[in-house]
Protein backbone atom coordinates (compact mmCIF):
# COMPACT_ATOMS: atom_id res chain seq x y z
CA UNK A 1 0.00 0.00 0.00
CA UNK A 2 2.79 2.38 0.72
CA UNK A 3 5.25 3.59 -1.80
CA UNK A 4 8.63 3.31 -0.28
CA UNK A 5 10.31 6.55 0.59
CA UNK A 6 13.75 6.76 2.10
CA UNK A 7 13.60 7.75 5.74
CA UNK A 8 15.20 11.04 6.49
CA UNK A 9 18.46 10.78 8.28
CA UNK A 10 18.23 13.61 10.75
CA UNK A 11 20.43 16.58 10.15
CA UNK A 12 21.72 16.15 13.65
CA UNK A 13 23.15 12.76 12.77
CA UNK A 14 24.57 13.97 9.51
CA UNK A 15 26.12 16.94 11.19
CA UNK A 16 27.55 14.90 14.02
CA UNK A 17 29.06 12.52 11.54
CA UNK A 18 30.70 15.33 9.59
CA UNK A 19 31.92 17.13 12.69
CA UNK A 20 33.38 14.04 14.27
CA UNK A 21 35.10 12.95 11.11
CA UNK A 22 36.52 16.43 10.75
CA UNK A 23 37.73 16.36 14.34
CA UNK A 24 39.46 13.06 13.83
CA UNK A 25 41.23 14.41 10.80
CA UNK A 26 42.12 17.54 12.73
CA UNK A 27 43.53 15.43 15.54
CA UNK A 28 45.72 13.56 13.10
CA UNK A 29 47.04 16.77 11.63
CA UNK A 30 47.67 18.21 15.08
CA UNK A 31 49.78 15.17 15.82
CA UNK A 32 51.95 16.00 12.84
CA UNK A 33 52.47 19.67 13.61
CA UNK A 34 55.18 19.18 16.27
CA UNK A 35 57.13 16.94 13.92
CA UNK A 36 57.04 19.51 11.17
CA UNK A 37 57.99 22.32 13.51
CA UNK A 38 60.88 20.42 15.03
CA UNK A 39 62.27 19.43 11.66
CA UNK A 40 61.89 22.97 10.41
CA UNK A 41 63.80 24.53 13.28
CA UNK A 42 66.43 21.82 13.27
CA UNK A 43 67.17 22.47 9.66
CA UNK A 44 66.80 26.21 9.87
CA UNK A 45 69.09 26.72 12.82
CA UNK A 46 71.18 23.64 12.51
CA UNK A 47 72.37 24.35 9.03
CA UNK A 48 73.80 27.67 10.05
CA UNK A 49 75.83 25.78 12.64
CA UNK A 50 76.96 23.30 10.07
CA UNK A 51 78.18 26.22 8.04
CA UNK A 52 80.45 27.39 10.84
CA UNK A 53 84.06 26.77 10.05
CA UNK A 54 85.52 23.74 11.69
CA UNK A 55 82.17 22.54 12.96
CA UNK A 56 82.86 18.95 12.13
CA UNK A 57 86.61 19.04 12.27
CA UNK A 58 87.51 20.71 15.53
CA UNK A 59 86.76 20.00 19.13
CA UNK A 60 84.87 22.34 21.43
CA UNK A 61 87.22 24.74 23.08
CA UNK A 62 85.21 25.09 26.24
CA UNK A 63 86.33 28.66 26.60
CA UNK A 64 83.93 31.47 27.12
CA UNK A 65 85.69 33.81 24.76
CA UNK A 66 86.93 33.36 21.29
CA UNK A 67 86.05 30.57 18.98
CA UNK A 68 83.72 27.99 20.43
CA UNK A 69 85.24 25.28 18.26
CA UNK A 70 83.36 22.41 16.71
CA UNK A 71 81.83 19.14 17.79
CA UNK A 72 84.25 16.58 16.47
CA UNK A 73 85.01 14.99 19.79
CA UNK A 74 81.31 14.67 20.52
CA UNK A 75 80.53 12.90 17.28
CA UNK A 76 83.38 10.46 17.61
CA UNK A 77 82.70 9.97 21.28
CA UNK A 78 79.08 9.10 20.63
CA UNK A 79 80.04 6.68 17.91
CA UNK A 80 82.60 5.01 20.09
CA UNK A 81 80.40 4.63 23.13
CA UNK A 82 77.42 3.39 21.17
CA UNK A 83 79.62 1.01 19.22
CA UNK A 84 80.82 -0.52 22.46
CA UNK A 85 77.27 -0.64 23.81
CA UNK A 86 76.23 -2.41 20.63
CA UNK A 87 78.99 -4.97 20.99
CA UNK A 88 77.72 -5.75 24.45
CA UNK A 89 73.98 -5.65 24.01
CA UNK A 90 73.43 -7.26 20.62
CA UNK A 91 75.07 -10.63 21.29
CA UNK A 92 73.64 -10.85 24.79
CA UNK A 93 70.24 -9.72 23.63
CA UNK A 94 70.08 -12.17 20.76
CA UNK A 95 71.40 -14.83 23.07
CA UNK A 96 68.63 -14.31 25.57
CA UNK A 97 66.07 -14.23 22.78
CA UNK A 98 67.46 -17.50 21.45
CA UNK A 99 67.14 -19.00 24.86
CA UNK A 100 63.53 -17.91 25.05
CA UNK A 101 62.51 -19.25 21.67
CA UNK A 102 64.68 -22.35 21.36
CA UNK A 103 65.06 -23.67 24.87
CA UNK A 104 62.96 -21.95 27.44
CA UNK A 105 59.79 -21.67 25.38
CA UNK A 106 56.87 -21.70 27.77
CA UNK A 107 58.57 -22.72 30.97
CA UNK A 108 57.99 -20.70 34.11
CA UNK A 109 61.59 -19.55 34.01
CA UNK A 110 61.31 -18.29 30.45
CA UNK A 111 58.05 -16.53 31.20
CA UNK A 112 59.57 -14.89 34.25
CA UNK A 113 62.46 -13.68 32.11
CA UNK A 114 60.03 -12.35 29.55
CA UNK A 115 58.17 -10.50 32.24
CA UNK A 116 61.34 -8.95 33.57
CA UNK A 117 62.37 -7.93 30.07
CA UNK A 118 58.99 -6.27 29.75
CA UNK A 119 59.67 -4.50 33.02
CA UNK A 120 63.02 -3.34 31.72
CA UNK A 121 61.45 -1.71 28.69
CA UNK A 122 59.48 0.55 30.97
CA UNK A 123 62.44 1.61 33.12
CA UNK A 124 63.33 5.26 32.56
CA UNK A 125 66.78 5.73 31.07
CA UNK A 126 67.95 7.74 34.05
CA UNK A 127 67.66 4.59 36.14
CA UNK A 128 70.28 2.81 34.08
CA UNK A 129 72.59 5.73 34.63
CA UNK A 130 71.97 5.62 38.36
CA UNK A 131 72.54 1.89 38.44
CA UNK A 132 75.91 2.04 36.77
CA UNK A 133 76.81 5.02 38.92
CA UNK A 134 76.14 3.03 42.05
CA UNK A 135 77.81 -0.12 40.85
CA UNK A 136 80.77 1.15 38.87
CA UNK A 137 81.39 4.83 39.35
CA UNK A 138 81.16 5.33 43.08
CA UNK A 139 83.67 2.63 43.82
CA UNK A 140 85.94 3.88 41.09
CA UNK A 141 85.85 0.49 39.47
CA UNK A 142 88.66 0.11 36.98
CA UNK A 143 90.56 3.00 38.45
CA UNK A 144 88.36 5.77 37.13
CA UNK A 145 85.30 7.63 38.21
CA UNK A 146 83.42 8.63 35.14
CA UNK A 147 84.48 6.66 32.11
CA UNK A 148 83.33 6.11 28.57
CA UNK A 149 83.08 2.35 28.90
CA UNK A 150 80.82 2.68 31.90
CA UNK A 151 78.54 4.85 29.83
CA UNK A 152 78.59 2.17 27.19
CA UNK A 153 77.50 -0.39 29.75
CA UNK A 154 74.63 1.83 30.87
CA UNK A 155 73.51 2.32 27.31
CA UNK A 156 73.80 -1.36 26.57
CA UNK A 157 71.44 -2.05 29.45
CA UNK A 158 69.02 0.37 27.89
CA UNK A 159 69.31 -1.29 24.50
CA UNK A 160 69.09 -4.82 25.87
CA UNK A 161 65.32 -5.16 26.32
CA UNK A 162 64.71 -3.64 22.91
CA UNK A 163 67.02 -6.12 21.27
CA UNK A 164 65.60 -9.06 23.20
CA UNK A 165 61.98 -8.34 22.43
CA UNK A 166 62.44 -7.55 18.78
CA UNK A 167 64.74 -10.53 18.34
CA UNK A 168 62.25 -12.83 20.00
CA UNK A 169 59.50 -11.69 17.66
CA UNK A 170 61.72 -12.29 14.66
CA UNK A 171 62.99 -15.66 15.84
CA UNK A 172 59.45 -16.84 16.46
CA UNK A 173 58.69 -16.11 12.83
CA UNK A 174 61.11 -18.77 11.67
CA UNK A 175 58.80 -21.61 10.68
CA UNK A 176 59.15 -24.57 12.98
CA UNK A 177 59.09 -26.76 9.89
CA UNK A 178 62.54 -25.47 9.05
CA UNK A 179 63.89 -26.39 12.43
CA UNK A 180 62.22 -29.76 12.28
CA UNK A 181 63.64 -30.48 8.85
CA UNK A 182 67.14 -29.82 10.12
CA UNK A 183 66.65 -31.85 13.26
CA UNK A 184 65.20 -34.68 11.22
CA UNK A 185 68.40 -34.77 9.23
CA UNK A 186 70.24 -35.44 12.45
CA UNK A 187 71.67 -32.02 13.08
CA UNK A 188 72.43 -31.23 16.69
CA UNK A 189 70.64 -28.35 18.34
CA UNK A 190 73.52 -25.92 18.11
CA UNK A 191 73.85 -26.50 14.41
CA UNK A 192 70.17 -25.85 13.90
CA UNK A 193 70.52 -22.56 15.73
CA UNK A 194 73.58 -21.33 13.93
CA UNK A 195 72.96 -22.73 10.48
CA UNK A 196 69.20 -22.48 10.16
CA UNK A 197 67.50 -20.22 12.68
CA UNK A 198 69.95 -17.33 12.77
CA UNK A 199 70.53 -17.04 9.02
CA UNK A 200 66.82 -17.14 8.30
CA UNK A 201 66.04 -14.41 10.76
CA UNK A 202 69.16 -12.38 10.03
CA UNK A 203 67.54 -9.38 8.40
CA UNK A 204 64.91 -9.11 11.11
CA UNK A 205 67.63 -9.24 13.74
CA UNK A 206 69.54 -6.54 11.92
CA UNK A 207 66.45 -4.35 11.74
CA UNK A 208 65.81 -4.69 15.46
CA UNK A 209 69.45 -3.99 16.23
CA UNK A 210 69.55 -0.87 14.09
CA UNK A 211 66.52 0.50 15.87
CA UNK A 212 68.08 -0.23 19.24
CA UNK A 213 71.26 1.53 18.16
CA UNK A 214 69.26 4.54 17.02
CA UNK A 215 67.70 4.67 20.45
CA UNK A 216 71.06 4.33 22.17
CA UNK A 217 72.58 7.20 20.23
CA UNK A 218 70.01 9.66 21.43
CA UNK A 219 70.08 9.01 25.15
CA UNK A 220 71.46 11.63 27.50
CA UNK A 221 70.43 10.73 31.04
CA UNK A 222 72.56 7.59 31.37
CA UNK A 223 75.60 9.55 30.26
CA UNK A 224 75.13 12.16 32.95
CA UNK A 225 75.95 9.69 35.66
CA UNK A 226 78.52 7.56 33.95
CA UNK A 227 80.60 9.41 31.42
CA UNK A 228 80.13 13.06 32.11
CA UNK A 229 81.96 14.92 29.39
CA UNK A 230 85.20 16.22 28.04
CA UNK A 231 86.16 18.76 25.45
CA UNK A 232 89.18 17.29 23.84
CA UNK A 233 89.07 14.36 21.53
CA UNK A 234 89.98 11.13 23.21
CA UNK A 235 89.75 7.51 22.29
CA UNK A 236 90.52 6.21 25.71
CA UNK A 237 87.54 4.35 27.01
CA UNK A 238 88.58 4.65 30.61
CA UNK A 239 88.16 8.37 30.70
CA UNK A 240 85.43 10.91 30.39
CA UNK A 241 84.42 11.46 26.82
CA UNK A 242 82.38 13.94 24.89
CA UNK A 243 79.08 12.87 23.38
CA UNK A 244 76.53 14.61 21.22
CA UNK A 245 73.54 14.38 23.56
CA UNK A 246 75.60 15.64 26.49
CA UNK A 247 76.98 18.46 24.42
CA UNK A 248 73.52 19.59 23.41
CA UNK A 249 72.38 19.37 27.01
CA UNK A 250 75.10 21.65 28.32
CA UNK A 251 75.12 24.02 25.37
CA UNK A 252 71.43 24.79 25.75
CA UNK A 253 72.06 26.65 28.96
CA UNK A 254 74.99 28.63 27.65
CA UNK A 255 74.52 32.38 27.43
CA UNK A 256 76.57 32.59 24.24
CA UNK A 257 74.44 32.68 21.11
CA UNK A 258 77.13 30.97 19.12
CA UNK A 259 77.10 28.04 21.48
CA UNK A 260 73.34 27.85 21.32
CA UNK A 261 73.65 27.63 17.57
CA UNK A 262 76.15 24.84 17.99
CA UNK A 263 73.55 23.07 20.10
CA UNK A 264 71.17 23.18 17.14
CA UNK A 265 73.87 21.99 14.80
CA UNK A 266 74.69 19.09 17.06
CA UNK A 267 71.03 18.26 17.35
CA UNK A 268 70.68 18.26 13.58
CA UNK A 269 73.68 15.96 13.31
CA UNK A 270 72.29 13.62 15.94
CA UNK A 271 68.84 13.51 14.38
CA UNK A 272 70.35 12.95 10.96
CA UNK A 273 72.28 9.93 12.22
CA UNK A 274 69.22 8.57 14.03
CA UNK A 275 67.08 9.03 10.93
CA UNK A 276 69.62 7.31 8.74
CA UNK A 277 69.67 4.36 11.12
CA UNK A 278 65.87 4.23 11.06
CA UNK A 279 65.74 4.38 7.29
CA UNK A 280 68.38 1.71 7.09
CA UNK A 281 66.30 -0.45 9.38
CA UNK A 282 63.25 0.03 7.21
CA UNK A 283 65.26 -0.75 4.13
CA UNK A 284 66.60 -3.97 5.60
CA UNK A 285 63.14 -4.93 6.79
CA UNK A 286 61.59 -4.38 3.40
CA UNK A 287 64.16 -6.58 1.76
CA UNK A 288 63.74 -9.30 4.31
CA UNK A 289 62.54 -12.62 3.05
CA UNK A 290 60.18 -12.82 5.92
CA UNK A 291 58.65 -9.40 5.72
Amino acid sequence: MSATALPQISTRRRLTDKVMRGSLLAGTLIALIPLILIIYYLIHKGLSAWAMSGFFTTDPTGSFFGSPGGIRSAILGSLEIVALATLISIPIGIGVALYLTEFGKDSWFANTVRYFVDVMTGVPSIMFGLFIYIVLVIGRFGGSGFAAWKGAVAISLLMLPIVIRSAEVVLLLVPSSLREAALALGAPRWRVVFKVVLPTSASGLVTGSLLAIARGMGETAPLLFTVSTAFALTFSLNQQMNTMPFLIYTDITSPRAAIQTIAWGTALTLVAIVLILNLLARFVASRSRMA
Binding site: V113, M127, W190, L224, Y249, W264
Partner: protein
Protein backbone atom coordinates in the same frame (compact mmCIF):
# COMPACT_ATOMS: atom_id res chain seq x y z
CA UNK B 1 80.53 -58.95 13.37
CA UNK B 2 80.66 -59.77 16.99
CA UNK B 3 79.32 -56.59 18.54
CA UNK B 4 75.55 -56.31 18.27
CA UNK B 5 74.24 -54.06 15.58
CA UNK B 6 73.57 -51.24 17.97
CA UNK B 7 76.71 -51.00 20.00
CA UNK B 8 80.16 -49.76 19.23
CA UNK B 9 83.27 -49.91 21.26
CA UNK B 10 82.94 -48.45 24.67
CA UNK B 11 79.44 -49.78 25.15
CA UNK B 12 77.75 -46.82 23.57
CA UNK B 13 74.89 -47.42 21.21
CA UNK B 14 75.37 -46.00 17.71
CA UNK B 15 72.35 -43.92 18.39
CA UNK B 16 73.99 -42.03 21.20
CA UNK B 17 76.31 -39.18 20.62
CA UNK B 18 79.57 -39.15 22.42
CA UNK B 19 79.75 -36.95 25.48
CA UNK B 20 82.04 -34.66 23.55
CA UNK B 21 79.53 -34.52 20.73
CA UNK B 22 76.86 -33.45 23.15
CA UNK B 23 79.00 -30.72 24.59
CA UNK B 24 78.24 -27.87 22.20
CA UNK B 25 74.53 -28.33 22.73
CA UNK B 26 74.92 -28.31 26.46
CA UNK B 27 77.19 -25.31 26.40
CA UNK B 28 74.76 -23.45 24.22
CA UNK B 29 71.78 -24.25 26.35
CA UNK B 30 73.38 -23.46 29.67
CA UNK B 31 75.21 -20.44 28.34
CA UNK B 32 72.03 -18.92 27.02
CA UNK B 33 70.14 -19.77 30.18
CA UNK B 34 72.80 -17.98 32.17
CA UNK B 35 72.36 -14.90 30.03
CA UNK B 36 68.65 -15.05 30.57
CA UNK B 37 69.12 -15.41 34.30
CA UNK B 38 71.39 -12.38 34.13
CA UNK B 39 68.38 -10.25 33.36
CA UNK B 40 66.60 -11.34 36.49
CA UNK B 41 69.70 -10.89 38.59
CA UNK B 42 70.38 -7.42 37.25
CA UNK B 43 67.00 -6.06 38.16
CA UNK B 44 66.99 -7.56 41.61
CA UNK B 45 70.55 -6.40 42.20
CA UNK B 46 69.65 -2.90 41.09
CA UNK B 47 66.80 -2.77 43.55
CA UNK B 48 69.03 -3.93 46.35
CA UNK B 49 71.78 -1.41 45.65
CA UNK B 50 69.35 1.40 45.17
CA UNK B 51 67.65 0.65 48.45
CA UNK B 52 71.06 0.42 50.05
CA UNK B 53 72.05 3.84 48.87
CA UNK B 54 68.83 5.46 49.92
CA UNK B 55 67.75 3.53 52.97
CA UNK B 56 69.42 6.09 55.18
CA UNK B 57 67.11 8.78 53.91
CA UNK B 58 63.96 6.78 54.51
CA UNK B 59 65.01 5.96 58.02
CA UNK B 60 65.63 9.64 58.67
CA UNK B 61 62.51 11.08 57.12
CA UNK B 62 60.18 8.14 56.82
CA UNK B 63 57.21 8.70 54.62
CA UNK B 64 57.73 12.42 54.88
CA UNK B 65 60.29 11.97 52.18
CA UNK B 66 57.61 11.06 49.73
CA UNK B 67 54.79 13.26 50.86
CA UNK B 68 56.29 16.10 52.85
CA UNK B 69 56.75 19.37 51.07
CA UNK B 70 60.11 20.82 51.87
CA UNK B 71 63.01 20.19 49.58
CA UNK B 72 65.62 22.54 50.92
CA UNK B 73 69.14 21.96 49.71
CA UNK B 74 70.58 24.81 51.77
CA UNK B 75 69.15 23.49 54.98
CA UNK B 76 69.85 19.90 54.00
CA UNK B 77 66.23 18.89 54.45
CA UNK B 78 64.73 16.59 51.86
CA UNK B 79 61.02 16.08 51.77
CA UNK B 80 60.14 15.31 48.18
CA UNK B 81 56.41 15.87 48.06
CA UNK B 82 56.76 18.70 45.59
CA UNK B 83 58.73 16.44 43.30
CA UNK B 84 56.10 13.75 43.35
CA UNK B 85 53.48 16.40 42.76
CA UNK B 86 55.32 17.76 39.76
CA UNK B 87 55.90 14.31 38.33
CA UNK B 88 52.25 13.43 38.52
CA UNK B 89 50.96 16.79 37.36
CA UNK B 90 53.15 16.93 34.29
CA UNK B 91 52.25 13.36 33.40
CA UNK B 92 48.55 14.04 33.81
CA UNK B 93 48.85 17.11 31.58
CA UNK B 94 50.66 14.95 29.06
CA UNK B 95 47.83 12.43 29.14
CA UNK B 96 45.09 15.03 28.85
CA UNK B 97 46.74 16.71 25.90
CA UNK B 98 48.31 13.73 24.23
CA UNK B 99 45.91 10.81 24.48
CA UNK B 100 42.94 12.38 22.66
CA UNK B 101 45.18 13.48 19.82
CA UNK B 102 46.88 10.11 19.60
CA UNK B 103 43.61 8.18 19.68
CA UNK B 104 41.99 10.52 17.15
CA UNK B 105 44.93 9.90 14.87
CA UNK B 106 44.69 6.17 15.39
CA UNK B 107 40.98 6.11 14.58
CA UNK B 108 41.47 8.29 11.54
CA UNK B 109 44.34 6.23 10.18
CA UNK B 110 42.55 2.93 10.70
CA UNK B 111 38.96 3.73 9.89
CA UNK B 112 38.68 6.86 7.84
CA UNK B 113 41.71 7.74 5.84
CA UNK B 114 42.24 6.71 2.22
CA UNK B 115 44.22 3.51 1.98
CA UNK B 116 47.26 4.91 0.28
CA UNK B 117 47.70 7.55 2.97
CA UNK B 118 47.72 5.00 5.74
CA UNK B 119 51.37 4.02 5.60
CA UNK B 120 52.80 7.52 5.14
CA UNK B 121 50.73 8.89 8.03
CA UNK B 122 51.76 6.02 10.26
CA UNK B 123 55.41 6.55 9.47
CA UNK B 124 55.13 10.27 10.18
CA UNK B 125 53.51 9.78 13.56
CA UNK B 126 56.02 7.12 14.51
CA UNK B 127 58.86 9.40 13.48
CA UNK B 128 58.17 11.48 16.54
CA UNK B 129 59.57 8.59 18.53
CA UNK B 130 62.91 8.80 16.80
CA UNK B 131 63.62 12.31 18.04
CA UNK B 132 65.96 12.14 21.03
CA UNK B 133 64.62 13.65 24.22
CA UNK B 134 67.41 16.20 24.44
CA UNK B 135 66.32 17.55 21.06
CA UNK B 136 62.80 17.92 22.39
CA UNK B 137 64.30 19.83 25.28
CA UNK B 138 66.29 22.05 22.93
CA UNK B 139 63.20 22.81 20.89
CA UNK B 140 61.15 23.36 24.01
CA UNK B 141 63.61 25.86 25.44
CA UNK B 142 64.21 27.94 22.36
CA UNK B 143 60.96 27.60 20.42
CA UNK B 144 57.98 26.35 22.36
CA UNK B 145 58.37 28.08 25.71
CA UNK B 146 59.05 31.60 24.45
CA UNK B 147 56.43 31.40 21.72
CA UNK B 148 53.68 30.13 23.95
CA UNK B 149 54.30 32.57 26.78
CA UNK B 150 52.01 35.32 25.41
CA UNK B 151 49.23 32.81 24.88
CA UNK B 152 49.75 31.44 28.37
CA UNK B 153 49.49 34.92 29.80
CA UNK B 154 46.28 35.51 27.92
CA UNK B 155 44.91 32.19 29.07
CA UNK B 156 45.82 32.72 32.71
CA UNK B 157 44.12 36.08 32.86
CA UNK B 158 41.05 35.09 30.83
CA UNK B 159 40.41 31.98 32.85
CA UNK B 160 41.55 33.30 36.19
CA UNK B 161 38.37 32.08 37.80
CA UNK B 162 39.35 28.44 37.43
CA UNK B 163 41.35 27.39 40.48
CA UNK B 164 44.91 26.37 39.81
CA UNK B 165 44.50 26.51 36.05
CA UNK B 166 44.25 30.26 35.76
CA UNK B 167 45.00 33.27 37.81
CA UNK B 168 48.75 33.07 38.18
CA UNK B 169 51.53 34.85 36.40
CA UNK B 170 52.94 32.48 33.79
CA UNK B 171 56.63 31.75 33.97
CA UNK B 172 58.73 30.97 30.96
CA UNK B 173 59.34 27.42 32.11
CA UNK B 174 56.48 25.77 33.88
CA UNK B 175 54.34 22.67 34.43
CA UNK B 176 52.34 23.29 31.30
CA UNK B 177 55.25 23.46 28.90
CA UNK B 178 56.75 20.37 30.46
CA UNK B 179 53.41 18.57 30.16
CA UNK B 180 53.00 19.71 26.59
CA UNK B 181 56.41 18.44 25.54
CA UNK B 182 55.68 15.16 27.29
CA UNK B 183 52.36 14.96 25.46
CA UNK B 184 54.20 15.21 22.15
CA UNK B 185 56.73 12.62 23.26
CA UNK B 186 54.11 10.06 24.22
CA UNK B 187 52.09 10.51 21.02
CA UNK B 188 53.89 7.79 19.09
CA UNK B 189 53.52 5.06 21.67
CA UNK B 190 49.89 5.77 22.54
CA UNK B 191 49.09 6.06 18.87
CA UNK B 192 50.87 2.85 17.95
CA UNK B 193 49.12 0.80 20.60
CA UNK B 194 45.76 2.35 19.85
CA UNK B 195 46.22 1.65 16.17
CA UNK B 196 46.93 -1.98 16.83
CA UNK B 197 44.03 -2.40 19.17
CA UNK B 198 41.62 -0.69 16.79
CA UNK B 199 42.82 -2.86 13.96
CA UNK B 200 41.83 -5.97 15.89
CA UNK B 201 38.17 -5.02 16.16
CA UNK B 202 36.43 -7.85 14.31
CA UNK B 203 34.80 -6.60 11.16
CA UNK B 204 31.62 -8.44 12.05
CA UNK B 205 30.85 -5.90 14.76
CA UNK B 206 31.52 -3.01 12.44
CA UNK B 207 29.30 -4.61 9.84
CA UNK B 208 26.55 -5.13 12.37
CA UNK B 209 26.55 -1.43 13.14
CA UNK B 210 26.65 -0.39 9.50
CA UNK B 211 23.86 -2.81 8.60
CA UNK B 212 21.65 -1.08 11.15
CA UNK B 213 22.04 2.13 9.22
CA UNK B 214 24.75 3.75 11.31
CA UNK B 215 26.85 6.58 9.94
CA UNK B 216 30.60 6.10 9.92
CA UNK B 217 31.07 7.94 13.17
CA UNK B 218 28.19 6.09 14.78
CA UNK B 219 29.78 2.82 13.73
CA UNK B 220 33.06 3.89 15.33
CA UNK B 221 31.23 4.90 18.46
CA UNK B 222 29.16 1.72 18.69
CA UNK B 223 31.53 -0.97 17.54
CA UNK B 224 35.13 0.23 17.51
CA UNK B 225 35.60 2.35 20.62
CA UNK B 226 33.90 0.16 23.22
CA UNK B 227 35.81 -2.86 22.02
CA UNK B 228 39.13 -1.00 22.02
CA UNK B 229 38.73 0.76 25.31
CA UNK B 230 40.84 -1.55 27.49
CA UNK B 231 43.66 -1.64 24.98
CA UNK B 232 43.65 2.10 24.47
CA UNK B 233 43.67 2.60 28.21
CA UNK B 234 46.68 0.34 28.40
CA UNK B 235 48.38 2.38 25.73
CA UNK B 236 47.63 5.55 27.62
CA UNK B 237 49.11 4.08 30.78
CA UNK B 238 52.24 3.09 28.92
CA UNK B 239 52.45 6.65 27.74
CA UNK B 240 52.08 7.79 31.31
CA UNK B 241 54.90 5.51 32.34
CA UNK B 242 57.07 7.11 29.73
CA UNK B 243 56.07 10.58 30.83
CA UNK B 244 56.76 9.86 34.49
CA UNK B 245 60.31 8.77 33.79
CA UNK B 246 61.32 11.35 31.22
CA UNK B 247 64.23 13.36 32.50
CA UNK B 248 66.09 15.50 30.04
CA UNK B 249 63.28 17.16 28.14
CA UNK B 250 61.50 17.95 31.39
CA UNK B 251 64.47 19.27 33.34
CA UNK B 252 65.09 21.87 30.67
CA UNK B 253 61.59 23.31 30.65
CA UNK B 254 60.09 22.84 34.07
CA UNK B 255 61.78 25.69 35.87
CA UNK B 256 63.40 23.62 38.60
CA UNK B 257 61.55 25.07 41.56
CA UNK B 258 61.16 22.48 44.32
CA UNK B 259 57.80 23.76 45.47
CA UNK B 260 54.26 22.77 44.83
CA UNK B 261 53.36 25.31 42.19
CA UNK B 262 50.23 27.31 42.79
CA UNK B 263 49.06 27.37 39.22
CA UNK B 264 49.41 25.64 35.88
CA UNK B 265 52.02 28.03 34.56
CA UNK B 266 54.17 28.04 37.65
CA UNK B 267 57.63 26.61 37.87
CA UNK B 268 57.87 23.14 39.27
CA UNK B 269 60.06 20.10 39.57
CA UNK B 270 59.88 16.38 39.03
CA UNK B 271 61.63 13.39 40.59
CA UNK B 272 63.65 12.74 37.46
CA UNK B 273 64.52 16.36 36.92
CA UNK B 274 65.84 16.94 40.41
CA UNK B 275 68.17 13.99 40.11
CA UNK B 276 69.59 15.27 36.85
CA UNK B 277 70.00 18.82 38.12
CA UNK B 278 71.37 18.40 41.59
CA UNK B 279 73.43 15.33 41.09
CA UNK B 280 76.62 16.99 40.09
CA UNK B 281 77.14 18.89 43.30
CA UNK B 282 75.39 16.70 45.82
CA UNK B 283 77.18 15.18 48.73
CA UNK B 284 76.33 13.08 51.73
CA UNK B 285 72.70 12.97 52.62
CA UNK B 286 71.83 15.06 49.62
CA UNK B 287 73.13 12.32 47.36
CA UNK B 288 71.21 9.73 49.32
CA UNK B 289 68.10 11.83 48.96
CA UNK B 290 68.57 11.86 45.22
CA UNK B 291 68.92 8.11 45.17
CA UNK B 292 65.80 7.87 47.26
CA UNK B 293 64.02 10.03 44.72
CA UNK B 294 65.26 7.60 42.11
CA UNK B 295 63.82 4.72 44.07
CA UNK B 296 60.44 6.39 44.34
CA UNK B 297 60.55 7.08 40.62
CA UNK B 298 61.48 3.50 39.87
CA UNK B 299 58.64 2.11 41.93
CA UNK B 300 56.21 4.57 40.38
CA UNK B 301 57.15 3.55 36.84
CA UNK B 302 56.96 -0.13 37.76
CA UNK B 303 53.45 0.27 39.10
CA UNK B 304 52.24 2.32 36.14
CA UNK B 305 53.75 -0.11 33.66
CA UNK B 306 52.25 -3.11 35.41
CA UNK B 307 48.82 -1.52 35.26
CA UNK B 308 49.39 -0.71 31.60
CA UNK B 309 50.38 -4.25 30.78
CA UNK B 310 47.35 -5.62 32.55
CA UNK B 311 45.06 -3.39 30.49
CA UNK B 312 46.74 -4.28 27.25
CA UNK B 313 46.55 -8.01 27.69
CA UNK B 314 42.93 -7.60 28.65
CA UNK B 315 42.48 -5.44 25.60
CA UNK B 316 43.95 -7.89 23.15
CA UNK B 317 41.23 -10.23 24.30
CA UNK B 318 43.40 -13.14 25.04
CA UNK B 319 46.18 -12.88 22.52
CA UNK B 320 49.63 -12.71 24.03
CA UNK B 321 51.54 -9.62 23.14
CA UNK B 322 54.44 -11.27 21.42
CA UNK B 323 53.14 -10.16 18.08
CA UNK B 324 53.29 -6.68 16.81
CA UNK B 325 51.97 -5.34 20.08
CA UNK B 326 54.88 -6.90 21.83
CA UNK B 327 57.26 -5.35 19.39
CA UNK B 328 55.79 -1.95 19.96
CA UNK B 329 55.81 -2.21 23.73
CA UNK B 330 59.28 -3.60 23.72
CA UNK B 331 60.91 -1.23 21.40
CA UNK B 332 59.61 1.89 23.04
CA UNK B 333 60.09 5.23 21.40
CA UNK B 334 62.65 4.74 18.72
CA UNK B 335 60.98 1.90 16.98
CA UNK B 336 58.45 1.69 14.25
CA UNK B 337 57.00 -1.66 13.27
Amino acid sequence: MEASATTVTGGRSVLERSPIGRLPDRVLKWGLSALAALILILIVYFFIRLIGQSGHVFSTYGLNFVFGNNWDVQANIYHGGALLFGTIVTSVIALILGVPVAVAGAIYINELCPRRLRNPLTILVDLLAAVPSVVYGLWGVFVLAPRLLPAEKWFASTFSFIPWIGGGIPQLYNYFIAGLILAIMILPIVSAISREVIATVPSEHKEAALALGATRWEMIRMAVLPYSRPGITGGAMLGMGRAVGETIAVVLVIGSAPKIGTHLFAQGYTLAAVIANEFGEATGIHTSALFAAGLVLFVLTLIVNMIARWFITRGSHGTRGTGATGMTIASGPANEK
